[in-house]
């Protein structure tokens, strides 16, 4: 159980670093807010139209925000030269990824839950009755973004133009997540809201596939 | 023979893509060959000194 012990310690470290400054969270929240406001100019945000386009634009803004937010995840370690120390400190390198991706999921989920009421007010959709189900969709979707996102953050940290490379690597790969979570969300925002179990299952499957891949190949991502 | 021009266009476009790609590979190849020659000359000059 050294994996879990290590992971919890590292997760605590990640969360403490972020909540000390809250840099990442505040900038991401403002970014999503800007995107949501700008999107309102591209169509007429009446109730019907919002039901049709709202979920898609919400998830698109989450995806773009995530591709920016995941940037410093490994860059910070690289800039401070702490990655090799981190690797020596843990038994299984997978715990580094597990901690980082859990932290990223928490950050994403926090910003999304914060933005949801603002989105609902601005676009006239009702979320109160389906809030717990929405959080479930948000959780599975954010996990799906965070798993490959954390892995690719380690890849893009090695490249030039890394600020552009991460979205470029991540966004096409996240096509299934975008489709599944948009469909699940629009099912909940429809006139007769219903939980789309099939899409939730799909999201869970996506998470499992990439978590397994990360478990198998994670140690190679940490080579220097 | 309706749409024959479309068929011809598709085959021509396919052929053109492969042709341009092959040309680009051989062009990159020849610049690299020149580079190899240059570097080899540079290295042999350096070692004779």
């Amino acid at each position: 159980m050294a994996l879990f012990a290590n992971t919890t310690v590292l997760l605590g470290k990640e969360l403490r670093t972020e909540f000390r400054s809250r840099e990442l969270l505040t900038t991401t929240v403002v970014f999503i807010l800007v995107v949501i406001v700008l999107f309102s100019f591209t169509f007429d945000p009446s109730v019907g139209e919002s039901r049709k386009f709202g979920p898609g634009l919400l998830w698109l803004s989450f995806l773009f925000a995530a591709s920016l937010m995941l940037q410093p995840c490994f860059l910070r370690e690289q800039n401070n030269d702490t990655l090799s120390a981190l690797r020596l400190a843990v038994q299984d390198p997978f715990s580094i990824f597990l901690a980082k991706l859990s932290a990223n999921t928490v950050f994403l989920l926090l910003t999304e839950v914060l933005m949801l009421p603002i989105f609902a007010i601005l676009y006239n959709v009702h979320i109160l009755a389906v809030f717990p189900q929405l959080v479930l969709v948000l959780f599975l979707g954010s996990l799906g973004v965070a798993i490959p996102g954390t892995a690719f953050s380690a890849i893009s940290a090695q490249a030039r133009m890394r600020e552009l490379m991460l979205p470029l690597l991540l966004l096409p790969l996240l096509t299934p997540v975008l489709i599944a979570s948009t469909e699940a969300t629009s099912g909940l925002l429809a006139e007769n809201p219903g939980l789309r179990i099939d899409w939730l299952g799909f999201l869970a499957g996506f998470d499992i596939v990439f978590l397994t891949a990360l478990w198998l190949f994670g140690e190679y991502l940490l080579e220097e | 023979m309706k749409n024959l021009d479309s068929v011809l266009a598709a085959y021509l476009a396919g052929w053109a893509i492969f042709f341009v790609y092959y040309i680009s590979v051989s062009q990159r190849m020849s610049t690299l060959r020149e580079e190899v020659e240059r570097l080899k000359a540079l290295l042999s000059k350096g070692s004779s000194k």
Binding site: P176, D198, Y220, L221, E223 | S6, Y11, A13, V36
Partner: protein
């Protein structure tokens, strides 16, 4: 050099022969007419592209576990050649779709998958060009390639489940069991010719990558002096 020219000439003759067969020997399809002849090129190219990306995935895995530079050369060659084939698929598809469906493009599962696949391997090549150090470039791009390939079935199924809820334009089964014999001969020959082209392009690109690696070695040696 003469050997490669000879090989290219043989291949060119093969492709010319298949084109002749496709146009003159194979019958004209009843419901679609002459436009169906694009399929010979389109389907064979799609097949070659998938073979190329499969090769790339295999080479990526091989590199991660063995660290042979050769596996890296194979993976970059396969990705690039696969992209060339995918672009032929993406160009010939709309040329066929426009007269038949009346639209150039529809976001059908197979079309979208092809497009996303092309995008993924485009970012793979871009990533390679953004990492300087050869070992790092090989390792990290291989890891990205593995993740990207794992995504392919997920993309396909997500789009299929999603779009089946909407009405489709015409859905065409692949060249199924009821294929006319002369059509089958034309398909087989075209498929053979394009597989030959795949091998030719792959080997040319592979040689290029090997040469580039030796240039990088020479450059490093020159810098040391």
């Amino acid at each position: 050099m003469t050997k490669s020219i000879a090989r290219a000439a043989v291949l060119f003759a093969l492709i010319a022969a298949t084109a002749y067969l496709a146009f003159n020997y194979a019958p004209i399809e009843k419901s679609m007419g002459v436009i169906q002849k694009i399929f010979y090129l389109h389907i064979s190219c799609a097949f070659s592209a998938f073979v190329a990306f499969g090769t790339c995935f295999y080479a990526n895995l091989r590199y991660v576990f063995t660290r042979e530079p050769k596996a890296d050369w194979l993976s970059v060659s396969a990705a690039e050649v696969g992209l060339a084939f995918i672009s032929v698929v993406l160009v010939s598809g709309p040329i066929w779709a426009h007269p038949v469906w009346g639209i150039w493009w529809t976001w059908d599962a197979r079309l979208t998958l092809t497009f996303v696949l092309g995008l993924l391997y485009l970012s793979y090549l871009l990533l390679r060009s953004m990492i300087e150090e050869p070992d790092k470039r090989a390792l990290f791009s291989a890891l990205f390639g593995i993740f990207a390939f794992l995504d392919v079935p997920l993309v396909y199924f997500s789009i299929r489940w999603w779009r089946t809820q909407h009405p489709q334009p015409v859905i065409l089964g692949g060249p199924g069991s009821g294929l006319e014999p002369r059509m089958r001969v034309s398909y087989l020959l075209m498929w053979g010719a394009l597989t030959g082209l795949l091998i030719l392009l792959l080997s040319a690109r592979y040689k290029l990558e090997a040469l580039r690696a030796s240039v990088e070695d020479l450059r490093r040696e020159a810098e040391v002096r």
